[in-house]
């Protein structure tokens, strides 16, 4: 960039930056159809990277559990509220503990919101702190 500014062509300097700026933003911002945060590509990354513990080369072992997708991303549920205890109850174990996301397949931002909602629901006695079993 230094040599371009030094270049003694004011007309050329007028042209050169303009097409470069036109190129730079568009592939990054314009095309993404999945929008801001509830983007569809997150759960795919999560499912691929988070496979079974070992490499798939281990013979005999189950290769890949079926790819889990984030329920909230798929159904486009954005409002995770402490009031709908039935939906929250799906992510809570028998003992009342919050189920880890490697078992439920929920993506990270949704798991944060989910766990906050579960804690709020526990505080207002819609969900138990510790369940019947264990």
């Amino acid at each position: 960039m230094a040599d371009e500014t030094k270049a003694p062509a004011p007309a050329a300097s007028g042209d050169a930056p303009a097409p470069r700026e036109a190129h730079a933003p568009s592939p990054r911002f314009g095309e993404r159809p999945s929008g801001d945060r509830p983007g569809g590509d997150r759960p795919r990354f999560g499912g691929g990277g988070r496979g079974p513990g070992g490499p798939p080369r281990e013979g005999g072992r189950k290769f890949f559990r079926r790819k889990k997708v984030c329920k909230f991303c798929v159904e486009k549920i954005e409002n995770i509220n402490y009031k709908d205890y039935r939906m929250l109850g799906q992510f809570v174990a028998e003992s009342g503990k919050i189920v880890p996301r490697r078992l439920t397949g929920v993506c990270s931002p949704h798991q944060h919101r989910l766990s906050n909602a579960i804690k709020q629901a526990r505080n207002i006695a819609l969900l138990p702190f510790a369940g019947r079993a264990s």
Binding site: K83, R122, N123, I124, L126, P128
Partner: protein, 137 residues
Amino acid sequence: MNRTYELMFIVRPDMTDEDLDKLISTLQSAVPSAGGSIKNVEKMGKRRLAYTVRKFHEGVYILLTVEGGGAVMHELERRLRVTEPVIKFLTVRIDEEQKRLDKIKAIRDARKKVSAQPAAAAPEEAATAPAGAPATA
């Protein structure tokens, strides 16, 4: 002063309906003096509690939506703390969350509109073309 709060509280189950209404109207009258307004009152009915609260296994849930500053909620909570029938309460601030939800909804609606235009043109052509052919034949 445009913060919106949701206040959910549980009242002991052996309260009569009219006592409950009296309690709610007391709270409602306290709010404007502190500089707020109650948007919504919802009685969610009697429910079994997930754990025992002050030796009660059931409670009547009530949800209030309040608009105002922090002072309004401070006053409301203070009142709820001293009210004997109220056994538990929870305040949640919802205006930021509402903003986020509205923004997502706006993005999704805008996207649907953009994608609906070419989709609206295509089925029209598909509908008129086969309809035209059998009519002539």
